[in-house]
Every structure is written in C-alpha cells, then in structure tokens.
C-alpha cells in the first residue's frame, strides 16, 4: 500500500496518483485540505514503528504502508486556516496532525520520497555546491560575500555573473547588470551569492532510483523557470545523456540521500559539464507535460517497489 499526501490536484502529485491507478497499485491519498477529518497515531516499541491512521472514515495500519510520497505544502497557508486565530483548536490540531505525520514518515520503514532529513542539502546553495564538488562534478565559480569591491573584482574576472539567494527562498537567478551596481552597497547587510554565468544548454535530469530522464531547455532567459517573467520563451526536449554522465547524476543524487531528484546541469558548447543545483523535491510535471517522459510512472513504480 502506498501513502500519498499533499493537495491531490497539484500537478506532480496528480500525475503519480494517475500512474498508481494505471498500475493498479493500492494507495491512499491524504488531501491536506481535509486535515480536520484525519487522525494519526504511532508508537515506537523496541525500535519498531507501528500505528494507525483514520482517513475519510477508513482505518489503516501504518506498518502496511511500504511507500510514501510527500508533496505537503506549508500547512500554515492552507485556506482552511486563513481566518483561524493563533492557537485556535483547529490550528493546533492541524499542527499536531502535520507534526505527527512528519515524525512518522521520518522513521517509517518504507520507501519515502522524500524525508526531511534528506532534502536539507538544498537549503543552502553553497553548502550543496561543496557536496557536488566532493563528487567530482564541476560547478561555476562562486563567490559569497558582503564586500562590494570583491564583487566588482569577481565581475571583472568573468564575462558575465549572476546573483541569487543563498537559501531556497526568493530564488530567482538574475544577471548582475551595470544598473545594479548603484545598489551593490546593500549587500553589506547580508552576504550574497554571485556566480560565473556559464554559456550553454540547460539540462534538467530527473533521477528516480537508477532511472534517468534528461530534458534540454533552450531559452535566452537567465533563469528558464522564470522565462515568462523576462518576456522570453523556453523549449523543452527529451534527450539521452551519455551513460557516464547519467551514472554520475544517479550517484550524486544517491550520495545526497535522494532516490528522487532533479539535477540541474549546464553543458557548454565545448561539452564541459557543470552542475548548478540538485533539487530534492522536484515538481517534475512541467517537464513531463512538455516531453511526455514517463517520470510519474517511474516514481509510482519506485514507490511500489516494481522494477
């Protein structure tokens, strides 16, 4: 039995549910918006995790779940809590339920995509860059500093540099333009991440267990995910990676503890490979819709332990 949680209409979750249906794999979906009608309890006895879940009027043993797919949104932003005052019974229950759910799947003896402990490397880009370097994959030259002079020197060294957040918050990549220099002094308040811009093709590689799905993204926007904001368009195409590169992506993802990941690569015109980032909870539907790659099917099969 597979357990899925989140908002069922969210595209990536919806695709996996659809595939589980097609594969006739028994599954249960927890719609976060119906949190008030769900109950959960678990116990740890001599290291064994057991418990039960009451969902939409039915009861399930937790130890029967062999796969878990989590696409939970921050419960504090659920519409159902919008008008709830702090510490109201409904708000407290929602917290208790999500806390219990998270605690359970962190220790559940199941295939979990993905546990919080495993998605952490993406919280800090320069930290993750160090892990990528440790696995022998090149990264763009990166500088984190609060010293404007340092940035100006770094910019001189490289043809073009970009800046982005260090954490995963407000993470839109922007090119550092001349017009930005007048506000460069503001970085004195908070170290900022600058990076050499690598010319080349963006490749998103989804790894699911040992399976690899690569998509090339052609655009002239600095950050293809937000090409529409920059008035640009992007074109996505399914591609085959050289086997050695595909294996390196799988190894990197697994070294970060991720059985499902979105590895962002840049391949230069002279075939140099750079890794920009590894996304631990990829919203893959965007790529699947454009390329028809069977990513959701691979996720469903992984959760079910098939193949």
């Amino acid at each position: 039995m597979i357990f899925l949680c989140g908002i069922p209409s969210e595209p990536s979750l919806a695709l996996v549910i659809e595939q589980l249906n097609k594969l006739s794999v028994p599954h249960v979906v927890f719609n976060q918006r119906h949190f008030a009608s769900m109950e959960l309890e678990f116990e740890i006895n001599n290291g064994q995790v057991e418990g039960w879940m009451q969902l939409e009027g039915r009861s399930y043993r937790l130890e029967h779940f062999t796969g878990v797919y989590t696409r939970l949104m921050n419960y504090q932003f659920l519409p159902e809590l919008e008008n709830e005052p702090p510490n109201s019974p409904m708000r407290l229950y929602c917290h208790a339920l999500h806390n219990t759910l998270t605690r359970w799947y962190e220790i559940a003896p199941a295939r979990v995509l993905s546990r919080n402990a495993e998605i952490g490397s993406n919280f800090s880009k320069p930290y993750q860059v160090q892990l990528i370097l440790e696995h022998g994959i090149a990264v763009p030259d990166t500088l984190v500093t609060n010293d404007p002079d340092n940035v100006l020197k770094f910019r001189k060294q490289h043809k073009q540099i970009i800046y982005k957040s260090i954490s995963c918050a407000r993470s839109i990549v922007q090119t550092l333009e001349d017009k930005d220099l007048q506000r460069l002094n503001r970085i004195r308040w908070c170290p900022t991440l600058f990076q050499e811009f690598i010319e080349g093709t963006n490749i998103r590689v989804h790894t699911v267990g040992n399976e690899v799905f690569a998509t090339s993204v052609s655009t002239i926007a600095t950050d293809y995910r937000y090409a529409y904001l920059q008035g640009e368009q992007e074109e996505l195409k399914a591609i085959e990676l050289p086997q050695e590169l595909a294996e390196r992506c799988v190894k990197l993802s697994q070294a970060l503890g991720l059985e499902f990941a979105g590895v962002d690569l840049k391949i230069t015109p002279d075939n140099q490979v750079y890794c920009l980032e590894v996304n631990p909870g990829p919203a893959f539907s965007y790529y699947e819709y454009h390329t028809r790659q069977p990513i959701a099917k691979a996720v469903a099969k992984y959760l079910a332990g098939i193949g």
């Binding site: 109950e39 260090i166 918050a169």
Partner: protein, 247 residues
C-alpha cells in the same frame, strides 16, 4: 589556530575554551555569535580552485581556512541581533540567508570540527526524540516506549527533547570521537553510546539516561550540544587529542 565558536552565554563552551587554553592549546581563539554579528567582512569562494573562507571580524581578527587546525563548534544560530534594523518584510528572508550561509562557511572549515554543521543544525544534526529513540534502539540501548498522536495538541513552538517526565534526574554520557566520558555507566551502556554516536554520525554527542533500581539505565534523550562540564578533565583531554589530530 584553533577555534571555539559559541554564543557568549554558552557557559559550557566558555568552560571548555578556558580549559583547553589552560592545557596549552595555542593559539586558541574564542569567536562568539555576537562577534560575528556586526560589520564583519565575509568572503567565501567555491569552484575549480576548491573552497575557501576569509572572514575579518570587527576586532580585526581574521579567520581563513588555511590558518585553522581544528574547531569546537557550538553555534546554534547565525547572529540576528543586527537584523532588527532591517525592514520586517525582509527580516525573515535575511535570517534564512544568514543561517544557510553559516551552514556553508562552517562546513568549509578544515576538520577536525566538533561538530560539523548539517542542514538540520549548525553544530550537528538536530533530531526529534522519535528519531533518536529509533537510533538508540538500533544501537542496542534500552529505550522506553514512545507514542505520538494527532490528538496531542501542543504549541507549535514546543519541541520535546527528552522522553522522560520533566524533573526526572538524568545522567549524561558524552561520546567524543568514540571515547566515552561523563557519568560512570555499565560497559554495555557505554558501548551502546559509542554505537549511537557512530550511527548518528555525530563526533561529539551527549546522551542522557534515566537510571532506576538495580543499576538499570534507560535512554532519555540525546543532544549535539551537551553540557561539556559534565565531561570534566577527561573530556578536555580527549578534545585536545582530537583537535590536534590530522584530518
């Protein structure tokens, strides 16, 4: 140089700093969260030439990765004192940026570092008590039963760190690089503690036990930031040995 990184009110770390200094670990620099808060210059580079850090503190001291031989790291959070001057709409963002930056530059410090930062904690991986229980059981330590329910309404801010009732007296064992110091425990408990430190990949780990009749020891909790004073001189001896060791 060697570094002790801690908050200025971390009495336990200040005790260790003084103890290490008295035992002749030189040059030893105490760098507090508060020192890191104001006006320092940060430079952290990553790329084909490797990873480096270069920090200039307000008092003129400079920390570079090349000069550091070892670190006792007790930082829990990036400094946030100066952030009150930042517009509220940006404050949360800046706090997140600083914490994730601290994770990276601390990770870039040369080893040995006790403890190395992780995304779940700047001085070692924070774990919920339920995760510690599973690991402790796997390590062969006697553990109490644990139950958690969605019906247990607790404040969003409350986090359980022990599985024994508040007020229960606990004994603390500290494992440093595989060596056991602190409370005197039966050999099988000491061995279990060594296994737990290894399983949790934590170089410096405090493990608490409730003791009962007939010398029974039951796991009560674990922390990456134990009260170092409980380890006494034995802890300082191990710390010096580890900090002086080659990575």
């Amino acid at each position: 140089m060697w570094l002790v990184l801690c908050a200025s009110n971390d009495i336990s770390a200040l005790w260790a700093y003084q103890g290490l200094k008295n035992q002749g670990l030189e040059p030893l620099e105490l760098v507090t969260t508060e020192t890191l808060a104001y006006g320092v210059r940060w430079e952290h580079r990553l790329g084909a030439d490797g990873v480096s850090i270069d920090i200039t503190l307000t008092d003129g001291r400079r920390i570079t990765d090349k000069d550091v031989h070892g670190v006792l790291n007790r930082l829990l959070f990036a400094p946030s004192e100066s952030l009150l001057l930042i517009h509220p709409s940006d404050r949360e963002y800046v706090i997140q940026e600083l914490n994730t930056f601290f994770l990276s530059w601390l990770y870039a410090l040369p080893q040995p570092i006790l403890n190395r930062p992780t995304p779940q904690g700047l001085s070692g991986q924070w774990r919920h008590v339920s995760e510690w229980l599973c690991l402790a059981s796997k390590a062969g330590l006697p553990t109490p039963n644990y139950r958690q329910s969605s019906r247990d309404l607790t404040s969003e801010m409350s986090v359980a760190t022990r599985v024994v009732p508040v007020g229960t007296t606990v004994n603390t064992i500290i494992v440093v690089d595989g060596c056991v110091v602190g409370a005197s425990a039966p050999p099988h408990i000491q061995e279990g503690c060594q296994r737990l430190a290894k399983l949790s990949k934590t170089a410096l780990l405090g493990i608490e036990f409730a003791t009962g009749p007939e010398d029974s020891w039951t796991f009560a909790g674990a922390t990456t930031n134990p009260d170092l004073r409980l380890g006494g001189k034995a802890l300082l001896d191990v710390l010096i040995r580890v900090l002086k060791s080659e990575p």
